[in-house]
């Protein structure tokens, strides 16, 4: 009977492998790891704050899109309103509380952002896998289509489609998905090209796996990380694009105020009531930067080649 004499790795060995013991890593490298972790935690906290605000904010601070209170219009931040509560971020041209409007807007913006990402992600990843895996004419057609679309400024394309479809939340999601699937498709395709000839895919094939199984169970799980990074970066872009569309009047209708509509409404009053546009603008900027930082930090973390830079 042949008994293996090899060393059996103890279970906690993986932990030991993560931090090589012979000679501690240089101080600089450790600081960099720490900064990376800090970036992830900080950006995640910002995003979490927004999500919490979007979920529970409108419950605490009621917002009625058709209510007007002309007596307390254009009040600066911190004014005590006759109704008894303080308008922390001021009121707009019809006396609506800007904070309440922003909290309601956060719901719309984040929902649109996530829905767009899911739709664009599904379309993009599917197209990318198909193009990368099968190659040939399918690859050519899909990727040339992507190239053609990339030559077009995406916001211009979005405006074009939005003006055909008309303003509604669902249409905004569709419009933004159409202009964002390309990024997913390209990243996915490049990943598939690298993965499809790896030994473990061949090995699965020799065990009788079909194409569908190979694509969904062998290739897809290995590229979750890069797709996640793209998704994080794109989320910021999508929220910004939605705000831009709403600002132009092609996004969400006025009854469902997103940040873009609020900012657009305040534009006429910039000289005497700066807060209507500025405060939602700052809020939007912080969220987009939060996603950008998170995306960068995740990429650094998942891409070991960048680690040494």
């Amino acid at each position: 009977m042949d008994r293996p004499t090899e060393q059996v790795l103890p279970r906690n060995d993986s932990k030991a492998a993560d931090s090589p013991t012979p000679g501690d890593p240089p101080v600089a490298a450790r600081t960099r790891v720490k900064i990376g972790r800090l970036r992830i935690i900080a950006s995640l906290s910002v995003i979490a704050l927004y999500v919490v605000a979007a979920v529970i904010g409108p419950i605490l601070l009621k917002y009625d899109p058709v209510a007007t209170d002309l007596g307390s219009r254009l009040k600066p931040p911190g004014t005590l309103l006759p109704s008894g509560h303080t308008a922390i971020f001021g009121t707009d041209q019809v006396g609506q509380d800007v904070l309440a409007q922003m909290l309601q807007g956060a719901r719309v913006s984040i929902t649109v952002g996530l829905a767009t990402l899911v739709l664009a992600g599904v379309i993009g990843v599917a197209a990318g896998i198909a193009a990368g895996y099968f190659g040939g004419w399918l690859d050519t057609v899909l990727m040339r289509l992507a190239d053609v679309q990339l030559t077009f400024p995406s916001i211009l394309l979005a405006i074009f489609i939005a003006s055909i479809l008309g303003p509604s939340v669902v249409n905004v999601v569709i419009v933004l998905s159409i202009s964002n699937w390309v990024t997913f498709a390209r990243v996915t395709r490049s990943q598939v090209l690298g993965l499809k000839n790896r030994d473990f895919v061949d090995a699965t094939r020799t065990l009788g796996a079909r194409t569908w199984h190979l694509m969904t169970r062998s290739i897809l799980p290995s590229m979750i990380a890069p797709i996640l990074v793209v998704a994080t970066v794109e989320l910021g872009h999508v929220i910004l694009a939605e705000a831009s569309l709403s600002f132009l009047g092609l996004g969400t209708p006025a009854s469902t105020p997103s940040w873009g509509t609020t900012i657009a409404n305040g534009r006429d009053y910039l000289s005497n009531a700066w807060w209507i546009s500025t405060i939602p603008g700052i809020g939007l900027a912080i969220l987009v930067i939060g996603f950008g930082v998170l995306g960068d930090a995740l990429r650094d973390r998942f891409d070991p080649r960048l680690r040494s830079m």
């Binding site: 008994r3 279970r11 040939g136 000839n197 030994d199 094939r205 020799t206 065990l207």
Partner: protein
Amino acid sequence: MDDPLLSVQDLTVRFRTRAGTVTAVDRVSFDLAEGETLAILGETGSGKSVTAQALMGLLPRPAGQVAGGRIVYDGTDLLARPRSDTRRLNGTDLAMVFQDPLSSLNPVFRVGAQIGELFRRRRGASRSEARRKAIELMDRVGIPAAARRVDDYPHQFSGGMRQRVMIAMAIALQPRVLIADEPTTALDVTVQAQVMALLAELKAEHRMAMILISHDLGVVAGVADRVMLMYAGRVVETGGLREVYETTGHPYTRGLMASIPALDGPRERLVPIKGSPPDLMRLLASCPFQPRCEFATDICGTERPELMPVPARPESHRAACHHAKEVATDVVPG
């Protein structure tokens, strides 16, 4: 002898590249009987791995394609049937063990799940049943504490253990032919022997036929029944293990054997084969080994030798050399 289990006839594989067409496998034929072990030997680029890829339907497409020949398994020509049809044979009839066990296991799944998946997909086993079978198999291929290690990831295993996992997956559905493509090349020498012993043991247990691909004559010697040597995409010598080792009929085989250090006997300087393998892009009408051959004469430069019986055992031993007789009788080279 009755019909062989697997019969490869005049298999030709070509790769189209930017620089031109390369014939990686050139009219290779061999038979494999049930329970038999055939070793395919040759140096890098000799076409042995491509032969295996062609057998398993793994040729990189669209660059590589089978340009001719037949692969007859159990009476049916695999190349004549659609790929979706032959795929069903993979795993249950033909299975393969790869060279590098780390890259052949999916890094993001636990090994137990990878082995168990086979039973779930191909045998309709339940989750718990698949897990139990995975542990059973891991135990069978000699992975200690299999019940505990079933939930580990591939990177938590050592090289030898990973190769055992790969072997477990390959034999899971009890294939009748196991193709092992340099199964021990990526492993330590001590582990190599264990893995080869395991393969030999499993082969006997399941009465599998095995195609063992290697560049190491030493590894092959212990397990093979027959050997086939490839050079520049062609078979240069084939025969029973003893026949080829004792009455070598091709100078290339001789060169390979001379470049292995002998542990017993006097310590001598190793004799390498001079030169390097030919460019497959432009093969001439000559014998491809002619530039490196010490037996070469005029005929070698003008006529390409076909496989011919070697006089000592003409019924099974064949070599593609104009001077096979001299090579076989001349015991000491040079």
